[in-house]
Symmetry: C2
Subunit: 221 residues, 2 copies
DNA sequence: TATAAGTGGATTGTATACAATTTAATTTAT
DNA sequence: ATAAATTAAATTGTATACAATCCACTTATA
C-alpha cells in the first residue's frame, strides 16, 4: 500500500474554523440540503435561539451567506432562502465544467515536480481503494486528487471557486446511490486525466476533463 | 440612428441600492482601485467616521466584502485588504475568459428571438458609435452587448459571476488609454461574435470569444 | 543590556436597547 | 358582510455598552 501524508485530504478546504464559521457552514448546509426550503423566510431570532448567540453575530453570518448568493435579503423584510432547484444544479455543473476544463489545461502547463509527485501517489491510492472496493475512502481520495489539481493551476480564484462549487454540489446534488461498477468507471476517467498530466499534454487533459464532467452529469439523471 | 430602450445599459447591474449597498460599493472600489493598499489594515471606527454610521452596519458590510474575497478577516485582529496584483488580475482574466467562452456557446443555443433582436439593435448602435467615434458611448454599449449575452445564457450563476468579474476588472485593470484604432478593432471582434449568433453557430461564437479575450489581454500589456 | 512580565490603550466581538418598518389583527365604516 | 382604516405585535435596522483580545510600551529582574 502506498505511503504519503494525507493531511490535505481533510474534508474541509478551510484550515481553522471559528465558532461563527461553523454555524455559518451549518446554516449553508441546511439550505443546500433542502431542509430550509426555497423562498422560506429566515427569522433572525429563531437562529439566535437555535445556536445560542445574539442577533449581531447571526446577522454577520447572514450577510456572508447573502454575499455568496444562498439567501436574498429584502430591506426591512428579512432574508429568504434561495435554495437549489434541479435547474440551477445543472447551472452549477455547467460552471464547474467550464472552469475545471480550463483549470486542468493550465494545471498541466504549470504543475511543479513536487505537485506531480503528489498527484502520482494520490492516483496510486485511487487504484488501491478501487481494488479493495472501499467507496468511502475512494470518495475522500477523489477530493484529494481534485485538490492537488486545483492548486496546481496556481490561480487562487480558480481554486476557491471550484472548491465552492464542489461544496454546493456535494450537499445539493448528492445522490448517495452509486451504480454497480462506479469505482472502476471513475478510476478509468481519472486515469485519462492523470495520464495527460504525466505526458504533460494539456489538450488531452482538457478533453478527458470534459468527458469526465459529461459522464458525471449523465450519471446523476 | 437606431432606436431602442437603453435602460438595461444603466451602468450598474443591480436594480435598487440601499445606503449600505452604496457604501459597500464605495469601499470595494477603494480596494480595487488601489487607494486602499494590499495588506493594509482596515479599522472599523475609521470607516464609521468616514461614512457617518455606526460599527454594526459597517461590520455587516465588511462581512459581505469578506465573503466576496476582497478582504481577509483575522479573528480579533481585524480586516486586511486583499488587493489585486498584476498576477491575480491575470487570474481573473483567465476565469472570465473560461466562463465567457462557455457562456457564448450556450447563449447561442438558448437565445430567444426577442433577445436576438435586442442583440441586433445593440450591435447597430455599436456600428453607429464607431462611425461617430464616440468612445464613451461605445464603452457603455459594449457593456449592454455583454449584458444581453450573459442573460441569454439563461444561467443565473454565469450571469452574476461574469458581471462580478467585469466589475473587478473595470476598477482593478482599467487603463484609460486606448490605442488609436481601438473602436474599429473592438467592433470587428464583436462583429465575429454577433455573426455567430445570427448564424446560430456555437463553435464559431466560442472561437470568436476566445480570440476577443486573448486580444483584450494582449492590449493591456 | 537583554529578556520577561506586566500595564494601559486601542480594537474587535457580542449583547442589548431602542428606532423604524412591516405584518397581523382588530375595529370601523359603507 | 366586505373593504378600508386603525392599532398592536413582531421583525428588522442601527446605535451603544460592555467584554475579550491584542498591541505597544513601561517596568522589573537576571
Amino acid at each position: 500500500m502506498p505511503m504519503m501524508n494525507l493531511d490535505f485530504l481533510s474534508n474541509d478546504y478551510q484550515e481553522k474554523k471559528t465558532k461563527a464559521q461553523k454555524i455559518e457552514e451549518e446554516i449553508k448546509i441546511e439550505i443546500l440540503s433542502g431542509r430550509l426550503r426555497t423562498g422560506q423566510r429566515i427569522v433572525e431570532q429563531d437562529l439566535c435561539d437555535k445556536y445560542g448567540i445574539s442577533r449581531t453575530p447571526i446577522r454577520e453570518i447572514l450577510r456572508r451567506i447573502e454575499s455568496e448568493g444562498l439567501i436574498e435579503t429584502i430591506p426591512n423584510r428579512g432574508a429568504f432562502v434561495k435554495g437549489f432547484t434541479e435547474q440551477n444544479i445543472d447551472d452549477f455543473y455547467v460552471m464547474k465544467s467550464a472552469l475545471e476544463v480550463q483549470c486542468i489545461r493550465w494545471a498541466i502547463e504549470r504543475i511543479t515536480d513536487d505537485e506531480l509527485d503528489m498527484l502520482q501517489q494520490t492516483f496510486e491510492f485511487m487504484e488501491f481503494y478501487t481494488m479493495s472496493d472501499d467507496l468511502e475512502k475512494m470518495l475522500r481520495i477523489n477530493n484529494g486528487f481534485d485538490t492537488i489539481i486545483y492548486r496546481a493551476c496556481h490561480n487562487r480564484e480558480m481554486e476557491k471557486t471550484l472548491h465552492r462549487y464542489n461544496f454546493y454540489l456535494k450537499y445539493a446534488a448528492s445522490s448517495s446511490r452509486y451504480p454497480a461498477n462506479y469505482l472502476t468507471t471513475v478510476l478509468e476517467e481519472h486515469r485519462a486525466i492523470f495520464h495527460a498530466f504525466m505526458t504533460r499534454n494539456p489538450e488531452a487533459g482538457a478533453e478527458a476533463a470534459e468527458i469526465h464532467m459529461l459522464k458525471t452529469m449523465i450519471r446523476r439523471k
